[in-house]
């Protein structure tokens, strides 16, 4: 028989379920969140597989010179693809590396935000939540810039298999990051209203969990899409 922990109160405040407290010693909310992330793994797994298959088929057709595929993009780009045997000439690796670095740094600031709220340090909580949201926004800005650059160069969502697969995979990730930014801003808003005290530390922790997950997925996408030819 132990005391009711903060976790359970937050949990019950949010969902006020039946009578029991946790059998596993983990709050319902946290358990549910982990399950959700497990499900997300399969979502991104399926998206990444679809991307890999589509890109491989695209390159095969490009090398074989299938006129339906070759005619979808500017000739000089196609030629580069054919020479390299990959879509690598499309990418600006240094630029994307930089925005990836920004996103990774935001994980650090998220950790700092969580540790601040556990200590009850409102000022630093706000600082680091804000920083995380800002870094995330910079990443999204970079992605928007990259997308427009690709459109100008002749790669669009509809013109071929590679375009569809690339924009879908990175777009899905971008939507996830955007969702994370909205959550961070909501927390920041609550904090300014004075409603984000240390009893809400688990909420911050869960948002952080999500944020780290999205970061890890990006590391995977960055490696698979950009770095591996």
């Amino acid at each position: 028989m132990t005391d009711v922990t903060v976790d359970q109160v937050v949990d019950h405040h949010d969902d006020h379920g039946g009578g029991h407290a946790s059998s596993l010693g983990l709050s319902n909310m946290k358990l549910a969140f982990w399950l959700f992330l497990g499900s997300e793994c399969l979502l991104f797994g399926a998206l990444i597989s679809s991307y890999l298959l589509s890109k491989t088929r695209f390159i095969t057709e490009i090398i074989a010179g299938n006129p339906n595929v070759v005619s979808t993009m500017p000739a000089e780009l196609i030629q580069e693809f054919q020479e390299k045997g990959s879509v690598e000439p499309m990418f600006d690796i240094p630029f994307t590396s930089l925005s990836s670095f920004v996103l990774l740094m935001s994980s650090l600031s998220m950790v700092l935000a969580h540790s601040a709220i556990v200590k009850g340090d409102q000022r630093n909580t706000r600082l680091w939540l804000g920083t995380t949201a800002m870094l995330g926004s910079i990443f999204i800005g970079g992605q928007i810039y990259e997308f427009t650059a690709f459109y100008r160069e002749g790669l669009t969502f509809t013109n071929n298999l590679f375009g569809s697969a690339f924009f879908t995979l990175t777009g899905f990730h971008g939507i996830h990051v955007t969702g994370g930014i909205i959550m961070l801003l909501s927390l920041l808003f609550l904090s300014f209203q004075g409603k984000l005290n240390s009893s809400r530390a688990e909420t911050v922790e869960l948002v952080g969990l999500y944020w780290h997950f999205v970061d890890v997925v990006w590391v995977l996408i960055f490696t698979i899409v950009y770095l591996i030819p």
């Binding site: 005391d3 405040h13 006020h16 039946g18 009578g19 399969l42 979502l43 071929n160 879908t168």
Partner: protein
């Protein structure tokens, strides 16, 4: 840890002052009755019953479409349905039966029963539970509005690319299929998270994993399968939506796309899907057979681990749906072998059920008969499954009526028979009266005869070369006799299945006419703790938290060994049952937000299909729903202080010790 003693609870340091005000329009409805109560309820039992009712509604739709198919195929070169109509009817039949009948009945049992069996007052997230139901219902209804808006889907229930593309299926039927199921999938996913959390985290004190009823185990495995399978289907459907609505190229062969991508994604979802449809029924008969054999389940650990093994192995066999798709002999060999071995855990289950019956004193009431029906008919489906696992044999049998027979033996003779058994068994716990036994016997024998007469001949038809999804066939193919027999059987089956509902209606009328006699908490001499509460189950489920000391806990409280080692009844269920006094128990209040939030999805769905403008109000409703949801207080502030939502923590344990 759990709160079982009356010790005072220290309130946490964070006082609830920071709770936001409720949104005025949608204050939580209290003591709602009638229609409004059902719309806003967050009670897992009511939600379970609604899942069941919705599934029955869809069962009638799916059943009528099945009968249309059988009328069309009763005679050769029949013109009852045009090719176009026939293609829509069989597609919708399969889709409705899989996604809107078998899956939700499984969800109905999981929702109604699982919290009772683990000794919880509700699921972990009651509002999300209501949301899961509404979003499933709206997705299913949206799918069925296609009948009135340009025709149903016509791609078959697995809807292979590129036939599902806009070039080959320009009507919006497949969009309804795609987006309707995408929406229903959201409900499955949130439901899975909710139910897994409930099983893992809200078990009664003392109920360790190896003391959980088999049904709870099967629910856990099922929901894990859903958790991981649904996102894969979601990806396939999103890609299809992008192709159809936004001109992307994922399944555009002219751009070099590989149509097998759809098949892989669909079956990576689809095979676990098959197991998540049958495992709840396995769980149900694993409760019923011991009860009416008056013996414990034979080999509980084997039952549990074989279920878990099926859950794991179910992920490694998806390509057996694709033996003729041209995967190459290496993959075909590997998946052929893997598929054969999944027969092992399934066989273990069947033999353990038989061993449970062995030496028992069997009460052959309707619930038990349906359970035995499952065991025998599923065996037939399992055996024909082995002949599919043998890939060379599968090249002769796949996509013929032999496979139609196979999956109906598994899903109808297996899953649906198990669900009907469960309805007869737990009906008193849900509604307070038993379903009539006499009509029940008619129901059972009618279904057994009708079922075997319908689907037994399909084995022969398939082996004689009749492919599935055929609008018609020729006289000279020699398929007339068995098609006619199957059509006759299907009408017997249809009438017999309806007897479930007739029985429910007549039994309820009889019960009310007799002045609603109390059926008692434990009408079957049950084994698990849901029989230790009154029937129908009171709103708050348990007056006090049950403390579980063994598997089949309630049975062990009723029976004990005497000095001579003989097992004697020490008390009846009625003597031990909780009185159903819920005073001081705080339950989560009803809420409007689940249904509001769920309603936004079909609006967005219609918007994607017809005009993107409609997604704006849909999106606004979604945002409103999310904010209303998250700002809704745990309970209304104007309630008396003893209804403070934190009090329920104390109330659970303290009020009745």
């Amino acid at each position: 840890m759990a709160i079982i003693e009356g010790e005072p609870l220290a309130l946490p340091s964070g006082t609830p002052d920071d709770r936001p005000n409720p949104l005025g329009v949608f204050a939580r409805p209290h003591n709602a009755t009638g229609f409004k109560d059902w719309l806003t309820t967050v009670d897992h039992k009511k939600i379970g019953i609604m899942y069941g009712a919705a599934a029955m509604f869809f069962l009638i739709l799916g059943g009528v479409s099945a009968l249309l198919i059988r009328i069309q195929l009763a005679t050769p070169n029949n013109t009852f349905l045009s090719a176009d109509a026939y293609n829509q009817v069989f597609t919708m039949h399969g889709t409705i039966m899989v996604f809107l009948v078998v899956m939700p009945i499984g969800a109905a049992f999981a929702n109604f029963l699982m919290p009772l069996q683990v000794g919880a007052r509700d699921v972990a997230f009651p509002r999300i539970n209501a949301f899961s139901f509404w979003v499933f219902l709206f997705g299913g209804l949206m799918l069925n509005t296609s009948w009135f808006l340009g025709g149903g889907a016509d791609g078959g229930w697995f809807n292979y690319a590129p036939n599902n593309g806009i070039a080959y299926s320009p009507s919006s039927g497949i969009d309804f299929w795609n987006i309707g199921l995408l929406i229903a999938g959201i409900g499955s996913l949130t439901g899975a998270i909710n139910l897994i959390t409930t099983v893992l985290n809200m078990r009664a004190p003392g109920m360790s994993f190896m003391k959980m009823p088999v049904f709870v185990w099967m629910t856990l495995v099922t929901q894990f399968l859903l958790l991981f399978a649904i996102p894969v289907l979601t990806v396939a459907q999103v890609l299809l939506m992008l192709d159809r609505q936004f001109d992307s190229n994922f399944f555009n062969v002219e751009q070099g796309a590989d149509p097998l991508l759809w098949q892989h994604l669909f079956w990576i979802f689809g095979h676990p899907e098959v197991y998540l449809m049958i495992l709840p029924a396995f769980g149900i008969v694993s409760e019923i057979i011991p009860t009416f054999s008056r013996k414990p389940i034979f080999g509980y650990p084997f039952m549990v681990f074989s279920g878990v093994a099926i859950g794991f192995m179910g992920w490694g066999v998806w390509a057996h749906h694709m033996f003729v798709s041209g995967l190459g002999p290496l993959s075909v060999s590997a998946f052929s072998v893997a598929t054969m071995f999944i027969a092992v855990p399934t066989g273990v289950k069947i033999l353990n059920w038989l061993a449970t019956m062995w030496g028992g004193k069997l009460t052959l009431n309707t619930a038990m008969l349906f359970s035995i029906g499952l065991v025998t008919q599923f065996t037939i489906g399992g055996l024909s499954g082995v002949s599919h696992a043998i890939a060379p044999s599968d090249t002769q049998q796949t996509d013929t009526y032999y496979i139609v027979a196979h999956f109906h033996y598994v899903l109808f003779g297996g899953a649906l028979f198990g669900f009907v058994a469960g309805m007869y068994f737990w009906w008193p716990k849900a509604f307070g009266y038993k379903l009539g036994e006499k009509l029940g016997k008619w129901n059972f024998w009618g279904m057994v005869i009708g079922f075997n007469l319908t689907f037994g001949p399909m084995h022969i038809l398939g082996l004689q070369g009749m492919p599935r999804r055929m609008q018609t066939y020729d006289d000279a193919m020699g398929l007339n006799l068995w098609n006619f027999v199957a059509s006759v059987g299907s009408f017997i089956l249809g009438v017999a299945t309806l007897l479930v509902l007739v029985n429910a209606y007549l039994s309820s009328r009889k019960w009310k006419a007799a002045g609603r006699p109390d059926v008692g908490p434990d009408p079957w001499d049950g084994r698990t703790i849901e029989w230790s509460i009154q029937s129908p189950a009171p709103n708050h489920n348990f007056d006090v938290d049950p403390v579980v000391t063994s598997l089949d806990d309630f049975w062990h409280r009723k029976y004990a060994e005497d000095e001579s080692g003989k097992i004697r009844r020490v008390a009846t269920g009625a003597q031990l049952a909780q009185p159903g006094n819920g005073e001081g128990v705080h339950l989560p209040a009803s809420s409007y937000w689940p249904i509001v939030l769920a309603a936004s999805f079909p609006i967005i769905g219609y918007g994607i299909m017809f005009t993107l403008w409609l997604t704006i109000p849909g999106g606004l409703l979604l945002v409103l729903g999310l904010y209303g949801w998250s700002l809704e207080p745990a309970d209304d502030l104007d309630l008396p202080h003893d209804h403070d939502d934190h009090a329920d923590l104390a109330g659970v344990g303290a009020s009745h010790d």
